[in-house]
C-alpha cells in the first residue's frame, strides 16, 4: 500500500465514483435535507464523521466474524454497530456541541438508515480494503457526500424562485437538477492517478 493507492481511493470516492451521483448511495438524506445550505453542510459533516467511524469499527467486526465463521451475519452485525455508533454520536453532540445537535434535530438518528453508511462498510469488505484504506474510503466517501449535498443545496435554494411547469413543482424538478449535476460529475470519469 502506498500513498498513490490512497490518493486513488480518495479521488475515486470524492469525484469519479461519487457516492451519490455514481453509486446512488445516500439519496434519501441527499434529497430530504438539501433545502437549506446550513443544514445540508451540518448533515454532510455528521455523515462524514459516522462513515469514517463505521468503516473503522466494521473492519474490526468483520475480522471477528471471519474468525468465527459467521460471515453471513455481516449485514445484521454491521447495522447494529452503526445504530450504536449513531446513538453514541448523538449523545456526544448533545453534551458537547448542543447547537449542532439542535440544528440537525430529527435527521441525526436518521443517519442510521443512510445507505451510504452501511454501503461503505459493505463495500470495504467487498473490495477487501485493509484498515487504513477502509478508513480513508469512509472519510473521503463522506466528503464526496458533503460536496454533493452542498452543491445541490446551493442550487436548490435558487430553484424555489424558478418558473417551472406545475407538475414538476417540488420533488421532480429537484430530481432533474440532480440528474444534470450527475451529468456534470460524469466529466470526472477517466480521471486517474498513476
Amino acid at each position: 500500500m502506498s500513498v498513490t493507492t490512497l490518493l486513488a481511493i480518495s479521488l475515486g470516492a470524492i469525484l469519479t465514483n461519487n457516492f451519490i451521483f455514481a453509486q446512488f448511495l445516500g439519496c434519501c438524506p441527499f434529497l430530504g435535507v438539501s433545502k437549506k445550505i446550513d443544514t445540508a453542510v451540518g448533515m454532510g459533516l455528521a455523515v462524514t464523521f459516522v462513515m469514517g467511524l463505521a468503516s473503522a469499527f466494521c473492519y474490526g467486526i468483520n475480522i471477528i466474524l471471519v474468525k468465527l465463521g459467521l460471515e453471513y451475519m455481516q449485514t445484521v452485525a454491521f447495522i447494529l454497530v452503526i445504530a450504536g455508533l449513531v446513538q453514541f454520536v448523538e449523545m456526544f453532540l448533545k453534551k458537547s456541541i448542543p447547537s449542532l445537535y439542535t440544528a440537525l434535530g430529527v435527521y441525526l438518528p436518521l443517519i442510521t438508515t443512510n445507505c451510504a453508511v452501511l454501503g461503505v462498510a459493505l463495500l470495504n469488505v467487498q473490495n477487501s480494503y485493509n484498515f487504513i484504506e477502509s478508513v480513508i474510503y469512509g472519510i473521503t466517501g463522506g466528503l464526496g457526500f458533503l460536496l454533493a449535498i452542498f452543491l445541490f443545496a446551493a442550487v436548490r435554494e435558487q430553484l424555489e424562485f424558478a418558473d417551472n411547469p406545475k407538475a414538476f413543482d417540488g420533488f421532480p424538478i429537484a430530481l432533474i437538477t440532480a440528474g444534470l449535476m450527475a451529468l456534470a460529475f460524469m466529466g470526472f470519469s477517466g480521471l486517474q492517478v498513476w
Partner: protein, 205 residues
Amino acid sequence: MNVKKQFKEGLITQNPVLVQLLGMCSTMAITTSIMNGLGMGVSVLIILTLSNIFIALLRKIIPDEVRIACYIVVIAGFVTCVQLLLKAYLPALDKSLGVFIPLIVVNCIILGRAEAFANKNTVGASALDGIFQGLGYTVVLVIMCFFRELFGSGKLMGFQIMPTSYTPALLLVLPVGGFLCLGALIAVMQWALAKSAKKKEGTKQ
C-alpha cells in the same frame, strides 16, 4: 372493501416511491434491466410482507423507546435470509444487484411501513399492506426498467427489440438516466393526481 382501499393506496394514491418518496436509492440504482427490477421488487415485496407481519405480531411486546432498533434487527434477519437464498438459487441476479440486496435493510420503505402502519394495525391488515406496498414498488421499478432498458440499450429482457439501426441512448442506462427518469415519472404522477382531484371537485359541485 378495506382490501380494495389498501390496494388502491399501495399502487396509486399512497405509492411508496411516487407519492411517499421512499426508497429512492434502489429505485434509481438498479433499474437498468427488467430482470433486475423484477428481482429487486419481488425481494422487497417478500421482506416487506414478512417484516410487517412480524412487527405487527410483536407490536405489543416491543417497548416504545427501542422500537427502531428492534425493527432493524427483524428486517436485517429477513434480508439475510433472502440474500442467502438469492446467492444459492439465482447467483446471476445476486451479482448484478450486488450491494443493493443487503442495503434493503436500510430501505426507507420497509422501516417507514413498520413505523407508520405495522405497529398500529392487526397482523392481517399489515400483511396486506406489505403485499400492496411491495407491489406498488415493483410496478414503479418495472416501469422505469422498461423505459431505461428499451431506449438505453434497445433491448427488453435481453432480447433485441428496437431495429438495429436504432442508436441506443446510452445516457439512460447511466446514473443520469435514473435521476431524469424518476423525476419525469413523479411529475406525471403529480399531474395525474392533481387532475383526478380536480375532477372529483367538479362532480361534487
